[in-house]
Structures are given as C-alpha cells and as structure tokens.
C-alpha cells in the first residue's frame, strides 16, 4: 500500500505543479465551507456541520498527498513554492501572494488538518444540541483555513493575513456564547491582548521592508547577512512580541485563561493544539533573523523559561479543569519557546514537542469536555472525583495524555520534552544552568499539577453537587472516537518519530543541520533526575489529592497559592501598569483636545469662514463684473510674467 502511494506521489511530482496545486486547495476548501455556511443561512443548517467536517477531512487528504510527494523527493528539494497572484504591485516593491510548502509547513498542515478534523467530528457530538451549530462550524472552518494560510504563506505579510484570520476566528469562538457577558468580556480581553502582539508583528514587517526592501521569507533570509545587527535585533524583538501575544507568553499571557470561556472543542483546537503555537512557528520560521541577532534569541529563551515556570506555578492552584489545562498549555509552549530560543539545537525539538503536545493536550481538552458533558458543564475539579469508574474511555484516553505530558517513557512527551531539557543544558556560562534547571524543575511541577488534575477528577471520593443531581455517563461515540485517536497519538507518536530521528531529519532542510553538543551534565544523569522529579511530583499529588480527602471548598492556602490562583496578579499588574496610566493619558489628551486643539481648529475655522464671507461678495451675480474679474486676472498674470521675465 505504501509503495503504491509513494509511486503515485512519484508520478505526480514529475508534473511539478501537483504539490502546489494541493497548496491553494488546502486553504480554499475550508474557506469555501466557511463562506457557504455563513452566507447560505438557515438553508445549510441540515447538512452544514457534516459538510464542514467533510471539507476539513478533504483538506487533510490533500495534506497527506502533499506530504507523500515531499517525502518522495530528495531532502534538498523538499520545498516548493507556488505563486498565486501579484498581490501588491507598487513600483519597485512587488509582492506576490504565494504558498511555500516545505517540511516545516507540511508538518503544521498535518497537525492542523488532522487534529482539526478530529475536533470537527468531536464537535458534531459536543455541539449537537446547540441552536447555533452552523455558525460554530463556519467559524471552525474559517479557523482551519486561516491557520493553513498562516503556515503556508511565503511572506510575512501573507502570514500576517492568516495571523489576523486565526485571531478573528479565535475571538469569534471565545465569545461564541456571547449572550453571557463574562464570555464576551473574555473574548474582548483576548482581542486586546492579541492586538498588542499584532502591533509588534506589524512593526516587525514594516522594519523588514525598511531593512531588506522585501517581506517574503526567501528575500529576508537572503538579506540577513547584509543587515546591521541593531536592525536584526529590533526585528527579532518585535517578532517575539508578536509571538508572545499569539502564544500567550510572558508578559502577554493573561488572556489564555479567560479564553477558556469558548466551547471546549475550541479550547482544544485553537487554545491548545494549533493557534497558540503559531508564535513558536513564527520564531522557527524566522530562525535566520534570530541567528543574526543573539540578543533577540536570548530574549526568546528567557521568555520561554519565565513562561514555563509561570504556567507551572499557576497550574498548581487552579481548580477549574479547563483553566488548569490552559496554564499547562502556557507552560508547555514556554518549553517550545525556550527550545526555539536555544538556536539550531532546539528548533527541531521545539516543533517536535509542538506536534506531540498538539496531540496529548487536545486529547486531554477533549477529555475535559467529555467530563463536562457528563457532569452538567461543571468545571470545578473539587466537585469531581471518582469519575474513572463511570467514564472508562475518557479515563483511559485522558490517562494516556497525562502519562505523555508527564514525560513517562515510552509516551510521546518523554521523547520531545526530555530532549528540550537536554538541549537546555547545552552551552557555556550561566545559561545552561538557568535554562536547564528551569526546564528540569518545570518538569517536576508539571508532574505535580497534571497528576493533581488527573487524580482530583478521576480518583478519590465522589464530591458531586446535588443540585442538579449528577449522573455521570460516557459520551457518545462521535466524541470518544476522536479522543481515542488522539490518545493513540499521545502514546505512540513520540516513539515513532523520536528515537528514530525521523522528525529532526525531516525538518533539517528548513532548520539547518547542527552539530551534536554534550550537555553540562551527562545525559543519563539528566534523564534519571527528570524521571525522579516527575515521580516525586506525581507521588505528592497522589498523596494529597488521590489518597487524602479533597475539601470541596478550596482552603485558604499560603501566599504563593493565593497568588497563583489569581494568575500571580497578572491582571492587577496590567491594570496598574497599562490601564491606569492609559486612562490618565486619555483624560489628559481629551482635555488638551478640547482646550488647545479644538480651540485652534475652531479659530482657524472661524478665520476661514470670515475669509469665505468676504470673498463671497465678489460673487455678486452680475456677468459684467465676472467679465471684469477675468480681464483683471489676465492683465495681472500677464503683467506679472512680463515683469518677471
């Protein structure tokens, strides 16, 4: 079978258009789905969700074809570029809209379309009773199309279009139940915080245009050698700002927790598996810039290290199952950022962890959705307990995800996260110790909070609410099948792609080859230390949340717990640093505008008006005086010219 597929792929590559043909269709199919559902109105209610799901799978099918075609050719040639149309022809600056299909983008295409399609299927069950199902699927399709555009774009500007597209889809889906004001506020918050990051990306693109005279990947990569390091550092830092906004990295991480207001499949797809990892993609895609700007690269690693610690601490204190998972997502993306900031040694692992994380985190979110489905949308983990007995499939699939994120061998996380920890310990001076220890300790804390979540939900005594009375039950097959598929991925993907080095070799044409370096601590020692820490974390969680009684109401806890519950006071900090001065600024600007600008403008306006009234008298309606004016004009101009010449 596989030889047959390879053969088909070989044949179609001979006509070199084939891969790129698939390229635009990949995006066009889900986009068409979104258009049909949004424009078609109620007529599409009956078949809409199924069609959206079908289109998403079709996109996945095309992705597979493109993947096979890429795999069939030599590694050096694994990059095709298709020009779609002249986008902005403006004199010397001629930007074409094109798609770039290479090993990096196709890896993302596979993740987006596969996990995306599974979540479409899951949503068929999860959203079956929602009156606005059609709109939901339209937005999902819009998201898939935008995300594919983001990763397939051949220029930063086209990437920005996709970037804004996923931002829009995310906004629409977080606020999908916007009749609830809190949810609408959450959507707005995500929107605003993302704007800050988007400004960074927009400025980075402008700066690229100023520095390189072009904004497509090929020209920018080629121009890096000739650019000043100051310009590269500025571009790198602005790109990082953009990445922080989209990927919920410090200091723009505050929106992700609130974004959990959206329907759970959305949290799984957008706010765990795909969109939030776009920042990592951006950094890896721009590796040439970051390699030319070591300071910006260091900033990426620092941001990653801070966020992974921050997310881990917050995750320990959250009682809302989705918010705990969101904190975990933040922390895991911190790992990826850290890896991306380590340079060539880390790129492949950043993307590898991104892919495995996409599987196990999406699986766990779907599991959380399944739990909520069976528990009347309860999200407080202190009101769960003992659910493993009633929801066997959810329990097992979630368990596999849990083992994967803990990094227990041989599950996926072990292969990707341990590599990042190893890579973080490579280097000289203070860096390996700071980054390495942060990554190592983070793994222990991750084990604690994920186990806490797992045990509080599925083990211990039942602490269900009586009102309404709970009758936990397993979810329908449309929901559990995607969970099972993702669980298989969580369990096996790392084992298949990791130790065989398939994935790092696959990405080499994009990320470049790097020499192997030894960490400052021997690898076996590191591995043992990681596993011991994980075991300690999980054990502590078992003692406190599995064996012991879990209080229904959260205990007061110490200062750190209280701080972590409030996201380490991030919102208060934002208010104090940004909002309060902002409000002051606006008030003073309004005052200036009223008093000075308006005064000036009014004065000028009055002056113009007065001049107008005077001039108007010349327009007296008599043809004779009009003719006289003409004559006077001719004589004046002629006289003046004569004098001048």
């Amino acid at each position: 079978m596989s030889t047959l597929l390879t053969q088909i792929a070989m044949e179609s590559t001979t006509s070199s258009d084939a891969v790129s043909m698939a390229g635009w269709l990949l995006i066009a199919l889900p986009l068409a789905g979104a258009a049909i559902l949004l424009l078609g109105g109620k007529a599409t209610n009956s078949f809409g969700p199924a069609m959206a799901t079908g289109l998403s799978w079709a996109s996945f099918g095309l992705g597979v074809v493109a993947l096979l075609q890429l795999a069939a050719v030599d590694p050096e040639q694994r990059s095709t570029h298709q020009v779609l149309f002249d986008w902005i022809p403006a004199g010397a600056f001629n930007l074409q809209a094109g798609l770039q299909i290479d090993t990096l983008s196709i890896s993302f295409v596979m993740l987006i379309t596969f996990v995306g399609s599974l979540i479409h299927v899951y949503s068929l069950g999860y959203m079956s009773h929602d009156p606005d199902k059609r709109r939901f699927f339209a937005y999902l399709n819009l998201f898939v199309a935008s995300m594919l555009l983001l990763v397939l774009a051949d220029s930063y500007l086209l990437l920005f279009v996709g970037w804004e597209g996923v931002g829009l889809a995310s906004y629409l889906l977080i606020g999908f139940w916007n009749h609830n004001p809190a949810y609408a506020t959450a959507a707005n918050k995500a929107f605003w915080v993302n704007r800050v990051g988007d400004i960074g990306l927009a400025l980075a693109i402008s700066l690229m245009f100023a520095t390189f005279g072009a904004v497509d990947f090929a020209s920018v990569d080629a121009g890096v050698g000739g650019a000043s390091s100051a310009a590269l550092t500025a571009i790198g830092l602005l790109l990082l700002l953009g990445a922080c906004g989209k990927s919920a990295q410090f200091p723009l991480q505050s929106w992700l927790g609130d974004a959990m207001a959206g329907p759970t499949p959305v949290s799984a797809l957008i706010h765990a598996a795909t969109m939030v990892t776009a920042g990592v993609y951006l950094v890896v895609r721009s590796h040439a810039i970051f390699e030319g700007a070591p300071n910006a690269q260091l900033a990426v690693a620092v941001v990653g290290a801070i966020t992974l610690t921050y997310g881990a601490i917050v995750g320990c204190a959250k009682d809302d199952i989705k918010k705990a998972l969101a904190a975990s997502t933040m922390s895991q993306i911190g790992y990826m950022m850290l890896a991306a900031g380590l340079g060539p040694i880390g790129y492949a692992f950043a993307i590898f962890h991104l892919i495995t994380h996409g599987f196990f985190k999406a699986g766990m979110f779907l599991g959380a959705g399944s739990v909520m489905h069976g528990m009347h949308d309860q999200v407080d983990m202190r009101r769960f307990g003992d659910l493993g007995k009633y929801m066997k499939i959810t329990w097992i699939t979630f368990g596999l995800g849990w083992l994967a994120i803990l990094g227990v061998p041989p599950f996926s996380g072990f292969w990707s996260k341990d590599k990042i920890i190893e890579a973080a310990f490579v280097g000289e001076g203070w860096r390996p110790w700071v980054f390495g220890l942060a990554a190592l300790l983070g793994a222990g804390v991750t084990a604690f909070y994920m186990s806490r979540l797992f045990f509080m939900t599925f083990h211990g005594k039942a602490r269900w609410t009586d009102d309404p009375p709970q009758h936990p039950h397993e979810s329908p097959l449309t929901m559990t099948v995607p969970m099972m598929v993702l669980a298989v991925g969580s369990a096996a993907l790392g084992l298949i792609l990791g130790p065989t080095n398939i994935f790092s070799n696959w990405l080499e044409p994009v990320t470049g080859h790097h020499e192997h370096h030894e960490p400052v601590i021997a690898v076996p020692v590191l591995m043992a230390a990681t596993l011991i820490l994980v075991a300690l974390g999980a054990g502590l969680a078992w003692v406190r949340y599995g064996r012991d009684e879990v209080p229904v109401n959260a205990p007061a806890g110490n200062a750190l717990t209280q701080a972590a519950r409030k996201d380490l006071y991030q919102d208060d900090l934002n208010e104090a640093i940004f909002m309060w001065p902002g409000i002051k600024l606006v008030r003073s600007v309004i005052w200036t505008d009223n008093e000075l600008v308006d005064g000036g403008a009014m004065g000028l306006g009055k002056l113009t008006g007065a001049a107008s009234t005077r001039l108007r008298r010349l327009q007296n309606g008599y043809a004779r005086s009009y003719a006289l004016t003409m004559l006077a004009g001719v004589v004046t101009v002629l006289g003046a010219l004569w004098v001048m010449n």
Binding site: T608, S612, L615, A623, Y626, A627, T629, M630, V634, L641
Partner: protein, 520 residues
C-alpha cells in the same frame, strides 16, 4: 509672406479608422435631429435615449476595436490620435453614457423630470402651462448632448489651435442651450445660460486672440510648428509668444473653472438641470484638461519656464478660493460647484509636473472625479421637497434616517471628493501630487502643501454635510424619489467604479500610464 503659402495643394490623408469614434457620435447626433423632427411625440423620448446610448456605445466600440490600433496624426496633423487622446475620448464616452442614463430619468410621476416641457416658451406663460399639461418633454437634449460629446472628443485630440477652437465651440454651444432647459426655477436657469454664453464668448475671444498672436509668432497654427518655432523663431517676434500662450490658456482655464475665470461655475451649476450639471462638470472638465495637456505638453512646453509661474499662481489661487468659498455655501449645487473649482486647482498641480506620470495622474484624476461628480448630481436630482429639488443644505438634514441608501451613497461620494484613503479621490490626489513633487521642484512642492491644506478645508465642508445627514433631526417633507432602472444602473455603475478605483486602482492607473505618451 510667400514662404508661408503652399506651392501646390496636396490632399490631406485621412485615417478614417482613427476618427471613426468621433464620426459615429456626429452621425448619431444628426440622426437625433431628424428623429426630433419626424418621430411622433409619444415615442420620441425613448427613441432618442436609445439612439444616444447606442451611439455612445458604438463609438466606444469603434474606439476600442479600431482607433487604438490607428494611432498617429491624421487630417494633415489637424487631429492627433495618441494615448492621451484615446484615454480622454474613452473616458468622455464612458462618462457621457452614464450622464445620458441620468438625463433620461422621467420618474414615475409626470413632470418630475429635469427638463422644461418647452424651452421656447416664456417662463410662466400660458404656452408653458399648456405644454406642461400636454406632458411634453424636451427630447432635443439628447442630440444636443451628443454634439457636445463630439466636441469634447475632438478637444483633447486637436493638433492645431484652430481645430481646438472649433472643438471648443462645438462642445460649448450645446451646453449653453442645455443649461437653460431646467423645468423648475426657469428664470434662474435661463439667466445661468445667458451668463455662461456671455462669459464663454468672452473667453473664446481670448482664445482666438491668443491664437492669432501665436500664428503671428510661429507662422502656423499647428502645435508641432509652434513647438519648433519656440526654439528657432527670430527675436523680433519674441514679444508675441508669452501673451499668445497666456491668452490661449485663459480660454482653456475658463472651461475648467480656474480662478479668476471661475465665477460662472457656481451660477451655472446651480441654474442648469442637475443631470446636465453632472454631465458638464464631469465631461467638460475632462475634455478641457485633455486640451490643456495637449497644448502644454506638445505645443508650448519648450517655453514653459516663462509661463509656468503664472499657471502655478492660478492653480494656488484656484485651490484656495475654491475651498475657502465652499465653506459658506448653503446650496448643495453651489457647494459642489466650488468643490469642482478646488478640484480644478488640484488637477492643475498635476499638469505642471511636466512628466509622463503627471499626464497619467491627471487623466486618472479627471476620470475618477468625473465618475463621482455624475453620481453626486444624480443623487441631487433625487432628493426633493415637494416637486422641487431640495437644494438648500439644511433640507438634507436627517436624510440618513429616512433614506439610508441614498444618504450612504452621497456620503461615500463626499468622502471621495475629500480624498479619504481607500476612495478614488485619495488615489487620484496621490497620482496627481506625487509627480508634482517628484519633478516640479520647490514651486510645485509649495503648491502640493497648499493643495493638502485646501483638501483639509474642503474635507471639513463635506464632513459637515455628512454630519447633517446623519446626526440632525429631519425637517420638512424631504424625500428621495424612487429612480427608474436607467438611473439606478447609471448611479450604480458610477458608484461601483468610484469604489473600485479607490480600492483597486492598479488596472486603470496602468492603463493611464501606458497611454501617457503624446505623439507630436
């Protein structure tokens, strides 16, 4: 003197394909005269409308099909069909097609159209009342408009001063008549027509006088000969050149409404029937700028350092007076008239760039402005209080609530006039100002600064109207009539093109760029 006379008479070569579009329009106009004489009154209007539209469409077809491949001087250099001429002719045809659609509007109720039932009847006389009762209409407007269109097509393609003068008269005489044919406020309309005629004749006299001086200077009326003479002419006739150039320019600047030759504009725009005002504002301005470009770039360009400052001063004055005076206008048509004066100043800045990009910028500007203007006067004709047009600006308050579509379109057009980005007005201003800055030195840079400041003043005027339409309470019984299919199509096309030229101007800009080379 003997050297000036040809030794033997040679037959001029005529490339009929090149001038076919013009001939078609003349032919259509002549048939229109016959139709008015012989067709029964009941079907006259529809025949005339169909004939006019068909003629314009056929002419456009001939232009695109044949004339574009037959570039060059023809009629012994009396007409020059080159890129700018073709672009201007095509634009005139497009704009006049839309204008005819609006002129044909009769509305559902009798007596709601723009034209008097009988132009020859004295206003308020029993004869007029009888004609109104009989439901007559002035179907002569269509052949008259076609004659004018033919003149406008020759104007930018003229190869010598005499043909240019004939074209000027051919396009002007029908307009004088059309101006006096308004159905309502007929006295105002006739006064406007007479003023237009008197001042137009006055400016024609300037043009003729200037032509005579230039003939004396160069020994020929041909632009090519004039251009040559400027470098070779003996010093004893040098004194004829500058007055000649200036007087000819005055004749043309009168047509575009440049200060101080602008004072007819508000009176005539106000008095003429609204569809005619739109036609006049869009097409005359376009053709006249075509002629100015032709004269300035192929005839007197070698002498430009002498007269450039004079025209620059006129441009500055035009922008300032046009925009400042628009501030105190209370009549919507007079407001648009002063806005058209200000726009003439903006376009003149582009003309003075003396570069091919300036030519294309000006051509784009007049086309974009023409489309928006026709649509704007089309809207003006729709908004009524009772049977009369609601011409006072105060009557437009609250229109946004009663007629959101009409007010929305008008607001869009006003924003276009103001040159807000993403409208064609912005692209046009940019296309005209950018070459001026690039090729014009300090003088034009100063003009561009003045232009931008004046845009600001006019923007205030336009936004005030928008604010009035949307944020004031409605007064009186102002309503917008329901237009027929013809007007709807005309308005829709004009508005869609206006939006398209703003959002996606590249194809038309490219076309203008390709068509920006004059043949001398």
């Amino acid at each position: 003197m003997t050297t000036l006379l040809p030794t033997a008479f040679t037959v001029a070569e005529i490339n009929y394909w090149a001038i076919l579009p013009v001939l078609i329009v003349f032919g259509g106009a002549l048939i229109g005269v016959l139709v008015d004489a012989f067709a029964p009154r009941s079907s006259r209007h529809s025949i005339q409308v169909a004939l006019a539209l068909l003629t314009i469409a056929a002419s456009f077809g001939a232009l695109v099909w044949k004339a574009v491949d037959n570039k060059g001087a023809t009629l012994d250099g009396a007409m020059i069909i080159d890129g700018p001429a073709l672009f201007m002719q095509g634009s005139v045809l497009l704009l006049s097609f839309l204008s005819v659609l609006l002129m044909a509007e009769k509305f559902s109720s009798a007596g709601a159209d723009a034209f008097t039932p009988m132009g020859a009847a004295v206003p308020g006389s029993p004869l007029e009342a009888a004609a109104t009762r009989a439901g007559w209409g002035t179907s002569e407007v269509f052949p008259l408009a076609l004659f004018s269109v033919a003149g406008m097509m020759i104007f930018p393609a003229a190869g010598d001063l005499l043909v240019m003068f004939v074209a000027l008269e051919v396009l002007s005489l029908p307009l004088y008549l059309l101006t006096g044919l308004a159905r309502r406020r007929r006295l105002l309309s006739q006064e406007a027509a007479l003023k237009y005629f008197l001042l137009g004749s006055f400016s024609s006299a300037f043009f003729l006088f200037g032509s005579a001086l230039l003939f004396g200077y160069a020994g020929s009326v041909k632009f090519s000969a004039l251009s040559q003479a400027i470098t070779t002419a003996p010093a004893d006739v040098e004194g004829l050149l500058l007055p000649g150039v200036l007087l000819v320019l005055v004749g043309l600047l009168f047509k575009v409404g440049a200060v101080p030759f602008h004072q007819w504009t508000p009176d005539v725009y106000q008095g003429a029937p609204s569809p005619i005002t739109g036609f006049m504002a869009a097409c005359t301005k376009l053709a006249a700028f075509g002629a100015i470009l032709r004269l300035a770039y192929t005839g007197i360009d070698a002498d430009r350092w002498d007269w450039r400052m004079g025209v620059a001063a006129i441009a500055a004055l035009t922008m300032i007076v046009g925009s400042v005076l628009s501030v105190t206008q209370t009549d919507i048509k007079r407001l648009l008239a002063y806005s058209s004066v200000a726009h003439a100043g903006f376009i003149l800045v582009g003309v003075l760039a003396f570069d091919a990009t300036g030519v294309s910028g000006v051509m784009f500007y007049v086309l974009a402005y023409g489309l928006a203007t026709i649509a704007a006067f089309g809207i003006v004709a729709l908004v009524r209080e009772g049977s009369a047009e609601a011409s006072h600006i105060a009557q437009w308050s609250g229109l946004g609530k009663r007629h959101p579509v009409v007010a929305g379109i008008f607001a869009l057009l006003l924003l276009t006039f103001a040159g807000i980005p993403l409208t064609s007005g912005f692209t046009a201003k940019f296309a005209a100002f950018a070459p001026a800055i690039a090729h014009g030195g300090t003088t034009l840079a100063v003009l561009v600064v003045i232009g931008v400041l004046c845009s600001l003043v006019t923007a205030f005027v336009y936004v005030r109207v928008i604010v009035l339409m949307y944020f004031s309470e409605a007064q009186g019984e102002v309503r917008a009539l329901n237009p027929s299919v013809l007007t709807t199509v005309g308005l829709a096309v004009a508005v869609i093109l206006t939006v398209a030229l703003g959002v996606f101007p590249a194809p038309v800009l490219d076309l203008a760029n390709q068509a920006s080379q004059f043949i001398r």
